[in-house]
Symmetry: C2
DNA sequence: CTGAAAGCGCTTACAG
DNA sequence: CTGAAAGCGCTTACAG
């Protein structure tokens, strides 16, 4: 137990009641300005610090938001989720809130235990980052608390979620290639592997459709096996002029493959990626790609969860956050030829 | 205000007092086993959740630890600090604690404001991740709370700190090269640039000394200018057989330079790095390097801060956490020739 | 084995 | 403009 200075201590020193101290420190009505000033001064001198637990107990609000990351995503080198969490905690500041990180252990997920932040009433809302099992989603839904999925959605669940717009990003990127004069455009990725690879493929597909370009099976190139391990990419006989890669790391692989075979980028082939991660600038020339707007995702998540705390019946549904294209030097404008 | 179920509600339902409910739920003495069971059952059915704010106010403990990261380290792609934070929050679990991330804004650091987690009494201790200004260190020292520096120390400050053992890591790595038969070993790094580059250099130096190898000025190769931008590495006339690079990214650069000049790794030159980050496996052959033991750092930090909460006068001083060498294929055993 | 009383630090009516 | 009283949810003595 810390020996803390309380409002009572200040009150005794100043010679007023603790009610008056409370009003003064909170800039409330009903205290003369001179007394207010005096109280604040003494409080400062005594090193007074507000006890937020007392406030919590009165208001029933903890002023904390729990951010849950399943343990599975914890060992990854790519710390996308951690960067999102960081942004979330930044945005929570504006609301006087703090973020509590709660790694959801594999056991808790399997045994369908509530997260500890929930059981102990530590938070006023929970943001879940990354995919949890179907069964666990059901548990999440029974939690009597505002909640939100981030970067993940479930088709059946009614929980609000915020996800990146994979479809639109790939669509825009392909539009760009077409605007640059490309007509023979390959897509690189195993479209049965993850939903984001699939959604990105569909964006690519839509762009082709809209521009009256037929989708050619031979230009859909596989990049990984069923277990997600990268395989050697087989290039088609008749080479396309551009490659839409499902992520930057695969673009990196495509660079290597093309270079091996003596193709120059972008003069022989243009290449675009997705994610704007470290691989995008590891290659030469640097890669044109799509960047997820982490800040926007975090900002939206915080805004939504705050709205739900104020009004628990509020629904936002599934919200897409658009990324933005980062233009670099991996795409070449083709001569007008058709 | 949430309409929560309280112990009183359970007490009313069961027909006992809330004192008895409290004892039963906390497995304390003085309640018959049958009653205890009944209370727990009803509590479960009613969806009771413990109110930790009430506990906090009684005990004067928040059961939260604040982790502060200066905003400057926030934009970095490498999320070393975030990974440390994640491990910290994992280890806090064992103690029934949670981690609150508090990004220290540049303004707060300049204006020497206390962190918000401190002002609002949100935490029982603070771990500071990454370097803050000298002036801010003084502010930190006036905080009436257990505190700890992680991955950073100040020569004058009396605050406990946990840092990675750069010196020993480079020492071990150089020992390994010597054991593999190398005698002409270069160090790559601007030793006036950062303290970690310097400490690593000194570990390399000590290893040479211990093995009776003279340090040769010509084998100290610069890798960056005063502003920290990488420069082209000038190789010495007479080539060494091995390169100790101050970090993996520089090792990556060394690979490129050597390959350009037609040297094969490791048959012509061996190369080792430091950090075991993404660059270590981006090169071929993969790099032998030193990995910081993030888990050990986090574990130690949590242990220390818990000890200080229990006993505020406790001191641990400056503690070094050793990394471990990750052996890969960038080092070649040399024929016994001397 | 069970519970009435007091208190943790603060705030919200309400009375003066 | 100021303060006594009550209460937020829980726990800690202490009495029975």
């Amino acid at each position: 137990m810390r020996s803390n200075i309380t409002m009572k201590d200040i009150a005794d020193k100043v010679g007023v009641s603790s009610v008056t101290v409370s009003k003064a420190l909170n800039d409330k009505e009903g205290v003369s300005d001179s007394l207010k000033l005096k109280i604040k001064k003494i409080a400062g001198e005594m090193g007074y610090r507000y006890n937020s637990a007392a406030k919590s107990i009165k208001e029933g609000l903890s002023y904390n938001i729990g951010v849950m990351i399943p343990q599975r995503f914890t060992g990854m080198n790519d710390s996308f989720y951690l960067r999102v969490y960081q942004q979330i905690s930044l945005h929570l500041e504006h609301y006087g809130y703090f973020g509590i990180l709660n790694v959801l252990s594999n056991e808790d997920e399997e045994q369908l235990s509530f997260p500890r932040v929930y059981n102990e009433n530590k938070v006023d809302g929970i943001i879940i980052l990354g995919q949890v099992s179907k069964e666990y989603i059901n548990i999440v839904q029974t939690m009597n608390l505002p909640k939100l999925f981030l970067d993940f959605y479930d088709e059946h669940a009614e929980i609000d979620s915020i996800i990146q717009d994979n479809f639109y990003g790939a669509y825009e990127l392909t539009n760009y290639l077409i605007a640059m004069g490309h007509r023979e455009i390959a897509y690189v990725g195993n479209i049965y592997s993850t939903s984001s690879i699939q959604d990105r493929f569909l964006g690519y597909y839509k762009s082709l459709l809209e521009h009256g370009l037929a989708f050619q099976e031979r230009l859909l190139l596989n990049d990984r096996d069923e277990r997600g391990r990268y395989i050697e990419i087989k290039l088609p006989e008749k080479m396309p002029t551009a490659f839409v890669c499902n992520c930057d790391q695969v673009a990196y692989n495509v660079y290597e493959r093309l270079t091996e075979l003596g193709y120059q980028i972008p003069s022989d082939c243009s290449v675009v990626g997705f994610d704007n991660d470290i691989y995008a600038t590891l290659v030469s020339p640097h890669l044109t790609t799509v960047e997820v707007d982490i800040d926007q995702m975090a900002r939206t998540a915080v805004k939504f969860i705050m709205e739900k705390i104020a009004n628990p019946s509020r629904r936002n549904g599934r919200v897409l956050v658009q990324g933005k294209i980062i233009y670099r030097d991996s795409v070449q404008r083709l001569e007008a030829s058709n």
